[in-house]
């Protein structure tokens, strides 16, 4: 997206919202074994990912980034196949989609963005890496190492922290010392920005600035989008044990999707709903028909060329299976 286009951003957010709801429904119906809902974080994810140039930028997600995948046009069935338990990392093509495989190690992919950005800088592609992580992940040593590396080498990286208030049951104030995640940027001598993560236009503009800064040689940015996870941490979590209904109600009033919708015409919103319903139908159909992987695949993709020991094990397994 060249310029902020609220109609388009709202359309993408609504797709993410409805697919997210569908994923929860599918989990309740026993189709998805588990899922990490992102309701409430649509503006942060869609607004930031929409600011990328997919011909040259690259994104590194963790496990709660359906909105980013949606805005990047990633095949959502392939994306959700991780949660379906079909394949670690997902069944989509990370190279073609510019979205790295889904990562479950919090903070684990953050240094990858640094390496990727160094590669892009050496190749002079103008590419910028964005990496998504939470306020909890910001406690990981890897995130510090990555920020320091990126600052030392002045690499085009956007460290996009979605501060949704909670790391499972631990609130941000018990997680992040020093005031904020954005404040840490000062320690690395790089740009640190806080943005209203429920305002999709603000997220888009701020991310775009950070991306352009990286592209123009201005180095990395720590961007902290202040948002809220409206649902549970995962489909097996019970937020009632650690946070209040009042808090949830207060944030519900700041729902990023409703907020964008209020600024659009009723026709636009109706059209977006119809489009989202369409996508949901396709995703549901895709997910229920995706099926299991061929069992032979147990031995695939471990190495470029399988080792002899692995082929021997596969052979023995097959013989036993055929008996």
């Amino acid at each position: 997206m060249e310029k902020a286009d609220l109609r388009e951003l709202h359309r993408l957010m609504l797709v993410a919202r409805r697919v997210d709801e569908e994923a929860i429904a599918l989990q309740r119906q026993g189709v998805l074994p588990g899922y990490a809902p992102m309701r409430g974080q649509e503006a942060a994810q869609v607004g930031s990912a929409a600011a990328l140039d997919l011909t040259r930028d690259f994104a590194f997600p963790n496990y709660r980034d359906l909105g980013a995948a949606t805005a990047m046009g990633v095949d959502l069935v392939g994306y959700l196949s991780t949660h379906l338990g079909t394949w670690h990392g997902g069944m989509y093509d990370p190279k073609a989609s510019r979205l790295a495989p889904v990562n479950a190690v919090v903070g684990g992919a953050v240094p990858h963005a640094v390496g990727w950005a160094m590669g892009a800088k050496l190749d002079d592609t103008g590419g910028v890496a964005i990496t998504y992580f939470g306020d909890g992940a910001s406690s990981q040593g890897d995130v510090h190492e990555a920020m320091n590396f990126a600052a030392v080498y002045r690499l085009p990286v956007v460290f996009f922290c979605q501060n949704n208030g909670w790391a499972i049951s631990v609130p941000t104030e018990r997680q992040v010392a020093g005031g904020s995640v954005a404040a840490r940027a000062a320690g690395y001598g790089i740009e640190g920005v806080r943005v209203d993560g429920n305002d999709v236009l603000a997220v888009f503009e701020t991310t775009r600035e950070a991306v352009l800064r990286g592209r123009d040689g201005g180095g990395p940015t720590v961007l902290e989008a202040m948002t809220y996870r409206m649902g549970p941490h995962s489909t097996s979590d019970d937020p009632g044990r650690y946070r209040t209904l009042e808090e949830e109600r207060a944030w519900a009033e700041r729902d990023p999707v409703a907020r964008a919708a209020r600024q659009l015409s009723a026709d636009d919103v109706a059209e977006a709903e119809a489009h989202a319903a369409d996508v949901v139908r396709q995703v549901r159909e895709g997910l229920v028909t995706v099926g299991d992987r061929p069992t032979e695949e147990l031995f695939s993709f471990v190495y470029r060329e399988p080792t002899k020991a692995l082929l021997d094990q596969q052979h023995a397994w097959k013989e036993a299976a055929d008996v």
Binding site: P94, G108, H112, D142, F149, S300
Partner: protein, 341 residues
């Protein structure tokens, strides 16, 4: 004044130490493939604490050969991203004991991204890891982590025992499309051998071992730094008329089961020698492979001579810990004298 250490290149046969051979391998890899990047702590201006990267930055520039901040997980994580961007990273972790802060990136990321991406992303990363004890180093500067890495699906593990093999194995590891943990035997860095590094890279295929000395009474299985020790043992045993075969396992993942079976099938007795602690060490794997394939031929149970299940000890105790010539000879004697009860 900084001296010019770009180094003179040998033109034919030359006496080279392992450290020089590895340095040449890195030089030639950088020359042949401009996607090769060498980085780590102090690898640039200093040329690495073991000087294996000496002169590389002067020759290839600070973009190809660079110092990183002091952060092992960051080094390996950055290697992952560089590989994803189409580069061929050859990171160094300064000492074996400092691989631990990077284990998460190595095991959860480096080893798995080819798998997670269903073959779309490759991880042609060669982690150079100065390894093993025997140089009286302080704690965490001498460890044997081979079984740890060999246990991880998606990694390959190799250790050279000589300068010539070091050269060729490093070239091959860098060219390999999968991640390779390249364990450099520290006590052998200054050991010299004559060979011609201008010859084409030799195929020492993944998962092949090498008989470094032939014999008929028993096979000593070793790798990395223990190969030289086993050759000494074989010399001594030969004085008593005992002919020991010495097999350098070389590739520690995958292990050469066929090579083991061929050698032990001939000699009918085996002693596995490694520096790592006994329990769940690679010797257990090797013994089992031998037993599975040679049970009928074996004249004695496979013997293991290893470190003990204690933290790698410091200087004066190192000699007690490392497999000594005496301990290996005793194991040889045990296997030769074994009688079924």
């Amino acid at each position: 004044m900084l001296e010019d250490r770009t180094g003179a290149e040998p033109r034919g046969n030359a006496e080279l130490s392992l450290q020089q051979a590895l340095n040449l391998a890195l030089r030639h890899a950088c020359e042949d493939d401009d996607r090769v990047l060498v980085f780590g702590e102090d690898v640039g201006r200093l040329g690495g604490v073991f000087r294996v990267t000496d002169g590389l930055q002067a020759k290839f520039g600070e973009q190809r050969v660079f110092d990183t901040p002091l952060a092992e997980s960051g080094i390996m994580g950055m290697a992952v991203g560089l590989a994803m961007a189409g580069w061929r990273p050859v990171p160094e972790i300064q000492f074996d004991g400092f691989a631990f802060p990077a284990i998460d990136q190595i095991v959860n990321q480096v080893a798995r991204l080819h798998y997670r991406s269903r073959g779309v992303l490759t991880m042609p990363i060669t982690l150079r890891l100065p390894s093993f004890g025997g140089i009286r180093a302080p704690e965490h500067h001498g460890e044997s982590l081979e079984s740890l890495f060999a246990h991880v699906p998606g990694l390959k593990v190799v250790s050279p025992s000589s300068p010539r093999e070091g050269y060729h194995l490093l070239r091959q590891s860098i060219a390999d499309p999968d991640p390779v943990i390249f364990m450099e035997p520290k006590p052998r860095y200054w050991h010299r051998e004559s060979f011609d590094p201008t010859q084409p890279v030799e195929a020492l295929p993944v998962g092949t071992s090498r008989v470094v000395r032939q014999g008929k009474h028993a096979t000593l299985v070793a790798w990395g730094a223990t190969v030289a020790r086993c050759l000494q043992v074989a010399e001594l045993a030969a004085e008593d008329g005992v002919e020991l075969e010495v097999l350098d396992l070389r590739w520690l993942k995958p292990v050469d089961a066929d090579g083991l079976a061929a050698s032990v099938g001939r000699t009918r007795r085996a002693v596995v020698v490694h520096e790592a602690p006994l329990t769940a060490g690679l010797g257990a794997e090797v013994s089992t492979l031998i037993t599975e394939r040679c049970f009928g031929e074996l004249r004695a149970p496979v013997q293991r001579v290893t470190g003990f299940d204690v933290p790698y000890p410091s200087g004066p105790l190192e000699d007690e810990y490392l497999p000594s010539i005496d301990r290996i000879l005793t194991a040889v004697q045990t296997t030769l004298e074994y009688r079924r009860g």
